[in-house]
Symmetry: D2
Subunit: 496 residues, 4 copies
C-alpha cells in the first residue's frame, strides 16, 4: 500500500513486533465491530453530504459487513499493521468498482479515539450488568437470614451484634453504589469524537450530532482537540473500578477472617475451597485470596493509565492514544473476574449460625445498652453510666461468667453505688443487654441491624436496583437501536 | 476524665505525639465547626425525642457556640486528645447545671465519619468554585483571540493551524468537565452517617432524615455499617482530582514547550517568571514547572488513600477513618494551588502572535486540504490524492521555499500526472492550502478551530458554566441554609 | 538584592506564598547545616585555587558558622526567598570587608542538589539506626521464647506449629534486610554533585574529588548533567522504604489478627491499647492500625516522587529538584514513626502462651509428619501416605476428639488398609504427630521452627546485625570526620 | 489424581478458568525448566540422605528431562492444573517402577517460591545484558561526537553549550547505574527458599546449603517462614526497573523535544519514523512515544505488586505467591522492550550538527563566562559581575545582534561603568564568551562538557562497563555451572 508521497522505509522489525502487530491483534478482536459501525456512520454522512451515492454507500456497507478478522490479519502486513488501513484495503478489494471519494476529509485520529471509546463503553455496560448481578445475589442471600446473631467487629474486636443479612446488605449497597457511579461516568463519557479530524476539525459540513446518534452516543465531544487528545474516559472508568475494588478488598478481608480456622463463622463448599492432602481439617480459600489479590491490580491499572498520560502534550499522541491504554482490556477482564467471583462467593457462602451465635454470646455486647438504660431510666449521667456499665461488666467477667444470659444484679448495684447512684430493681436494667436477640431488635434507627430495619432496607435497595437496571437497560437498548438504525439506513432504500 | 470502668494506663507518649496530638491539632483547625454543627443537629433530635428539654438543648447550643480552638487545645490532654471528648468536657464546664442525658445512645464512630465528610464536602465545593474561575478566565481569554493562527501539533510535529482561542477553549472544557464530574460526586457523597452509631445502629428513635437535613445532607447513608466503615467519598473525590490533575499536566506540558526558547510562542510577565542573572535573555518559568509537578502529587494522593484502605476489614477502623486520610487536607490544598496557579497562568499568558504566525507559515499545513480538493473536485481517489499532495509538498520543499503563500502549480500538475491524473487550472487547488487564515476558516465542523466554530463553542461553554455555577450555588446555599435553620431552631423559642 | 541586569518584577504573591516561602521554611530547618558545610567545602577549594586568601576563607567560614535560622528568615524577602542568596547576603553583612571573588564560577544548581542529597543521606542513616534497633529488640524478644508452641498459619488456616521466637526472628530478618538494602543504596548515592555547575561543568580547576571528600562523599557524581538533573537517589531511598513498609504491613496484619478477640494470642499493655468505656472487655489496638495504615503512605510517596519526575526533561528543572521532593521530609518522618512504633510493639507485645498452646493443640498439625513416617518407615508411597494420613485425621475428627495427644491406632490401621497397606505397630507412627512440642523439635532443617534451629539463627542474625551496625557506624563516623576536618581546615592556620 | 483423604469436589469452573489454567499455561512456558532443576536438586539430597538410591534418582532425573510442555498441558486437568502435580504424574508414568519415597517430606510452598525466584533471577540477568548493550551503544555513539556544540537546556531554556557526546554519556551513566543497582539486587535475592517446607521447616536432614548450591544460589534464605512468605525479591526488582524507567522517560522527553519540528536537532531514519501521507514534511516518532509510554507501565507494575502484597498475612498465601505476581512476566517483557527500543534509538539517532550549532550560536551563553572573567581579572564582585554581564547582553540584544561571535566592547565598558567599574581592554573579556567552541573547552571540571572531560569520562565509563559485564558474566556462568553440575551428578556414576 502506498501511503505517502515520500519514499519511506517500511517500519523496523522492532516496531512491528513490539507495537504494531500486538496492537493489530488486539484491535481485530476487540475493536473491529466498532470500527465497522463508525465507518457506517461516516457512510451515512458522506451520502447526506452528496459525496457518495446511495449505491456507493450501500456497497461499502456491505463490504464492511463482510470483513473478517482472518482476512484482515492476513492483509495486515500490507497495511502497515493498521486496522483502519487494512479495512480500507480489504473493502476496496470487495468493491465492484472503486469509490474515489471514500474517506475524503477523514482522519484516523478521531476514528481510533472513537473505536476505543465504543469498546470501553460496552465494557462499562457489561461490568454494570455484573455489578447488578452481585447486588441481586447479595440481596437475595441477605433476605434469607436477617435474624441470626453474629458478632460485629470494630477494630477487629467483637463490638455489637449483627446478622448475615445486615452484612450482605452492605455488600449490596457497595455494588449499587458502584453501578450508580458507573452510570454517571457512562453518561459523561458517551460522547462521540467523530468529526474532530486530526485535531482541528474537518472541512466538509459533517453533522457531528448525526454522527454521534448513528453510533449511539449522546452527542459529540464539544471540542475537536479534546475529542482526539483526551483519554479522560479511561481514567474515569478506571478510577470507578479501582475504588470499587478497594471496597471489595475490604469485604473479602472480612470473609477471609471469618472463614479462618480461628473464627470459623463462614465456609465455602468444597468446589470453591482448596484442600490440604495430609491436613484434611484444613480448608483453604484460595478463591478469596485470588479475588482479593485481583482487586489490587485494579488500583495499579489506574496508576498505569495516569502514569502514561502524565506530562504528555495535550494533542493526539500515540503514547496516550495507544500505549497508555495497552492494559485496558486486561483491566476490564480483571474487573469482570472480581465481580463474577465475588458473586459466586456471596451466593455459595454458608453462614455457620451455630458458631456465629456462640461467638456472639461469648462476649458482653450489652454494655452500651445498659448504659443507655442507666441514663434514660435512672438519670445517671451518660459518661458516668458508661463507667458504671464498664465496672459491672468487669465484675461479671472477674466472676468468671461473661456469657450472654448471665446477669448479676448485685454487681450492678455495687457498680452504680461506687459512682454515687442507688438503683432500684437492678435486674430490670439488664434484660436487654443480656440477650443477643434483644440486642439486635433494640437497634431502632433506619439502616440498623434490627431484622425490621434490614428488611426495610433490603426492600428499598431492591427498588434502587430495579431503577438502576432499567437505566442500564435503556442505555444498552439505545446502543442496540442505534446500530440497527445505522445498519438499516444503509440497506438499499434505507436512506432517511 | 474518667472514660472507662477499667483502670487503664494513659496512652503512651509515642501514641500521643505521633497520632493523637497531630490529629487533634488538625481537627481543631479543620473540623471544629462541623463538629459543632453536628452536635446541634443531635440536640434537635434529643429535644424532639424528649430526652432533653428546650432549655437544656438551648444551653448546650450556646455552650457549643462558645467553644474556641484555644480552649479545646488547652484541655486536650485531659480528654485523651480527642476533640469530641474535649468538646464534651468544655461544654460541661460552661453549663450552669449538668445535663445527664446529653450524649446518651451516642457513638463517636458516626460522629467522626460525619465531621470528616462535612469538611470534605466543603473542600469539594471550594474547589468547584476555583474550577469555575479557571473556566471563566479561560473563556474570557479565549474570546480575545480566535483568529491568530498558530501551529497545532500532533506527535510534537506541526500539523494543523489553530488559534489561542481554540486552545483555551479546550482548557475551559477540561475545567468544565472537572466541575461537572465533581458535582456528580458531591451529590453522591452528600449523605449523612449520623444515626449509625458504632456500626449497627442506635437504640433511640432517631430520625436519620431529620438529622441529615439539619446538617445540609440529601439524606442518610442508607446502611449503618456503610455509614461508619466506608470512606469511599474520599476515594471518589481524590480520583476526580487526580484525573483532572493529569489533564492539567498535559496542558502545562504544552505551555512549557511553547514558552521554551525553541518555540517562543507564549510568555509570562516578569513577576511570574524566573530570571537568570548573567543570562538575561533567559526567562525560566518555574511557576509552570511547579504547577505541573504539583499535579503529580494528586495522583499519589489517590494511591495513598487507596493503599491505606486496601485489605482492611469493612468496619470502623482508625486505620481507615483517620490514618488513611491523614493527607486529605494536603491534597485539598495542593488542588487549590494547582487551580489558582493555572488560572493565573491562563490569565497572564501573552500569546506572541507574530511568532505564532511565523511558525504557522513555516510549514505546509495545506496538504490535507489540497488532497480534499483533489478528491472532491478532480475525482482523484482519496488515498491517491494524499500521495499527490505529499509529492507536491516534497517537490516544493526540494525547491527551497516551503513557506505558506508560495504555490507551484507546475509541481502540482507533475505530481498528479505521476499518479495518472491530469489537472486543469492547478492553481485553483492551491488557494486554500496556501493561506493559513484560510486553513483556519476551512474547518467547518462544530468544535473545530475556525473562528466561527470557536465563537459558537465559547458561547455554549459559557452557558454550561452558568448552569454549573447555579448548581454549585444551590448546593452552597443549601448548606448555609441548613446551618442557619439548625442554629435558629435551638435559639429560645426556636423549636419547630 | 540586585540579581539581574534586566529590570524584573518581584515574584508574584502567589509564587511567594505557594512555593518560595514554604521552600525557604523547609530549607532553613532541614538543609541549613548542609548548605553551610558545602559552602565551607567550596571555600577550601577557592583557597586552594588561589581565588581567596586564607584570611578571606577563614572570615567567610566564621560568618557561615554565625548564621542563624531566624536571621535568614528575617532576610528572606530581600533574597527572593532563596536560602542560598539569603546566606550570601547575611554573610556579606557579617564580613569586615567585601570578598569580591566569593562565589565566582558558582551555580545554585549543584549546590541545591548537593544540600538535598546530604540531608537525605543523613535521614537514611538515621532510619538505618532505627531499623537496627528494631532488629535488636526483635532478636532480644525472640530469644525469650523459642519453645512455646503456637499455630503457624498458611492461607489463614492453622497449618504447622511455630513459636514466638521463630516469628520474631522473621521480623528481625526483615529489619536486617531493610538495613542491608539501605546500606547498598547509601553507598550508591553518597556521591557529590559539587563542581557540576548549572549542568555542563565549571571553568575554574575545581577538584571534584576534594570537594566530595570535604563533605563526606565517596567521590563526585561522574557526570555534570547527571549531578544536577538526577534525583534518582530519592527514588532509590523511597523504593527501599516503600518495599520495607509493605513487609511491615504484613507482620502488622498478623499481629492485628492475633490480637483480635477471635484469636487472643497476643496483647499489648494498656498504655498501648485503646479502651472502650462501656465494653471494658474490649481492648482495641489503634496503635497497630495506625502503624499499618502509616506504611501505606510509604508506597504512595514512592509513587509521588516517580510521578513528579516522570516525563520531565533530563536537566535541571525546579519541577524535579524541588516540587517533586516536597514530601520527602514527610516520608522520612513517617518511616521513623513506623520503625519506632513497630519496635515499641515488638518490645511490649505479650504472647499469651496458654492460649497459643491451646490453639496449637486444637487442630491436627501432625498429618504431614504422619505421612512422612508412613513413607519412610512403612514404604507407603508419599502421595498415598498423605491420603492415608488425611483419612486418619478425618476419622479421628469424626470420632469427636481431634485434640493433640489423642491418637487412635485402630483408625490408622484402617486408613492404611483402605489404601492397601498393612501397618504393624500403628501407634509408633503417631508419637511425633500427636505432640505439638515434638512437632516443633521435628523440624530439622536450618531456619526451621525447632528451638535449636531458631537459636542458631538468632545467633547468626545477631552477628549480621553486628556487622551491619559497624558498617553504618563507619559511615556515620566518616561524615562526622569529614565535617570536622573541613571545619578545622578553615580555622586560622588550618589550611592543608 | 487422588490428592486428599477427604472427598472433595473438583474445583469450580470459575476457579479453573480464571486462575488455575492461566497459571498453568504461564508456568509451563516460563517456569518448567526451573521446576525441573529444583526437582533435580532435591533428588541429589534424597540420594545423599539415603532416601533414594542412585538408580532411582537417576531414573527420576531422566524422566524429568523427558517432560514436555505439551505432555504436561495434556495432563493438566488430571492434576488440578497444578504444574508440580502434573510433573509428578507424568514422571510417574515414565518410570519403570514406582519410587515410593519420592517427594516425601516435601511441600509445594518452598518449591513454587523457588521456581518463581529462579525465573525472576534469569529475567534480571537478561535485563542486565540489555542494559549493558544500551551503555555500550551509548558510549560508542558518544565517542563519535564530543565536539559539536548544541544548546544545553535548563528549565527548557537554552543555558549552556554541550555536545551529543556529553549527553549520550549521561545516558550511558544511567544505564550503568541501572545495571549496578540490579547487580546489588541480584546478589541480595539469589537465595534459595528450598528446605523451608510449608513455612516451619522440614523433618529430614536436608542440607539447605547443598540445595542452594545445586540451583546456583548463594545460599539459603536464612528463615523458613521468610523463604515461603516473602516476595520481597519481586518488589526489589520491580523498584529498580520502575526507577530506571522514570529516568528513561526523561531522556526520551528530551529526544522527543529535540526531534520535534520546533527544535529539529535530531532525527530518526525513516524505518523508525512515522510518516504522514499528505504532510510529508512531517516526521512523527511514534517509537519515541511508545517507548516513553511504556516506561509508565513500569511504575504501575511496582504499584501492582506492592498493592497486592499489602496488608496480607506474613505467611504463604496464594494471594501473594501467585496473584500478586500475575503481571511479573508482562513487566519483564516491557522492560526488555524499553531497553531494546531505546538502544535502537540511541544507535540510529542522527544528530543534525548544523542545526545544533545554529541553535547554539543563536543565544548568549557566554554571560556566565564573562562574569567569571570580570570577577577574576577585573576584581568586580561576583554578584555585580553577573549584573554587568546581564546588562551587557541586554544591550547587545537591544542592538539587534545577539548572535555568537558578535561582540560590543563599548557596551561592556558602559555596563561596567554603570556599576562603578572601569574596564581596560574590554574586548579581552569577550573572547571566550563569544565562541561556542571556546565555551565548550572552558569547562574544566571533571565530568564536564569539554571534549577532553567527556573523553576521559567515556574511558572511565567503558572501564566500569567492563567490570559490570564481568560481574554479570560471572553470575550467569555460576548458574550455568550449577545446572551442569546438578545434571552431571545425577547421571549414572555422577554422585559426588
Amino acid at each position: 500500500m502506498k501511503l505517502t508521497g515520500r519514499l519511506a522505509a517500511a517500519p523496523d522489525d522492532f516496531i512491528r513486533q513490539e507495537f504494531l502487530e500486538p496492537q493489530f491483534r488486539h484491535e481485530v478482536v476487540h475493536l473491529l465491530r466498532w470500527y465497522v459501525l463508525i465507518e457506517k456512520a461516516l457512510l451515512g454522512e458522506y451520502r447526506r453530504l452528496g459525496v457518495l451515492s446511495d449505491a456507493q454507500a450501500g456497497r461499502l456497507a456491505a463490504a464492511l459487513d463482510g470483513l473478517t478478522p482472518d482476512q484482515l490479519t492476513a492483509g495486515a502486513a500490507g497495511a502497515l499493521s493498521d486496522i483502519a488501513l487494512a479495512m480500507e484495503v480489504e473493502v476496496g478489494k470487495a468493491l465492484p468498482e472503486p469509490v474515489p471519494a471514500w474517506h475524503v476529509d477523514r482522519s484516523r485520529n478521531d476514528l481510533q479515539a472513537c473505536a476505543q471509546l465504543l469498546h470501553g463503553r460496552e465494557q462499562v455496560s457489561d461490568i454494570a450488568v455484573l455489578a447488578g448481578q452481585l447486588a441481586e445475589v447479595a440481596l437475595e442471600r441477605a433476605s434469607h437470614d436477617v435474624t441470626s446473631p453474629m458478632p460485629g467487629y470494630t477494630h477487629l474486636q467483637a463490638a455489637q451484634v449483627v446478622t448475615p443479612g445486615f452484612y450482605l446488605s452492605a455488600v449490596a449497597e457497595h455494588a449499587l453504589r458502584f453501578s450508580s457511579r458507573l452510570l454517571g461516568t457512562y453518561d459523561r463519557i458517551n460522547l462521540s469524537p467523530l468529526g474532530a479530524g486530526p485535531m482541528a476539525g474537518q472541512e466538509l459540513a459533517w453533522d457531528r450530532n448525526l454522527l454521534a446518534r448513528a453510533i449511539g452516543c449522546q452527542g459529540p465531544v464539544p471540542h475537536a482537540l479534546v475529542a482526539v487528545a483526551s483519554r479522560d474516559w479511561l481514567l474515569d472508568v478506571a478510577a470507578d473500578i479501582a475504588s470499587a475494588g478497594t471496597g471489595f478488598s475490604r469485604f473479602l478481608t472480612d470473609l477471609m477472617a471469618w472463614g479462618s480456622s480461628a473464627y470459623g463463622l463462614v465456609e465455602l463448599p468444597d468446589e470453591l475451597a482448596g484442600i490440604s492432602a495430609a491436613m484434611p481439617q484444613k480448608k483453604n480459600y484460595p478463591l478469596l485470596e485470588r479475588l482479593r489479590g485481583r482487586t489490587g491490580h485494579l488500583t495499579a491499572f489506574y496508576v498505569d493509565f495516569a502514569s502514561c498520560q502524565r506530562n504528555t502534550p495535550y494533542s493526539n499522541m500515540v503514547e496516550v492514544s495507544k500505549e497508555a491504554g495497552v492494559h485496558a482490556s486486561t483491566m476490564f477482564a480483571a474487573t469482570r473476574s472480581v465481580l463474577a467471583g465475588f458473586t459466586l462467593v456471596v451466593e455459595k457462602l454458608r453462614w455457620r449460625t451455630d458458631r456465629m451465635r456462640a461467638a456472639a454470646e461469648e462476649d458482653h455486647f450489652g454494655g452500651f445498652s445498659l448504659a443507655n438504660e442507666l441514663t434514660l431510666r435512672a438519670g445517671v449521667p451518660w459518661r458516668t453510666a458508661q463507667v458504671v456499665a464498664g465496672r459491672y461488666v468487669s465484675a461479671v467477667l472477674a466472676g468468671g461468667n461473661g456469657h450472654a444470659g448471665h446477669g448479676d444484679p448485685a454487681a450492678l448495684v455495687a457498680a452504680a453505688l461506687e459512682a454515687g447512684h442507688v438503683l432500684d430493681d437492678p435486674g430490670s436494667y439488664l434484660t436487654n443487654s443480656l440477650d443477643v436477640d434483644a440486642q439486635l431488635r433494640a437497634k431502632l434507627s433506619s439502616g440498623s441491624t434490627s431484622p425490621s430495619s434490614v428488611a426495610a432496607l433490603l426492600a428499598e435497595q431492591r427498588e434502587r436496583l430495579g431503577v438502576l437496571r432499567e437505566q442500564w437497560d435503556e442505555r444498552r437498548a439505545a446502543v442496540r437501536d442505534a446500530i440497527a438504525a445505522t445498519d438499516a439506513s444503509l440497506l438499499p432504500g434505507g436512506a432517511a
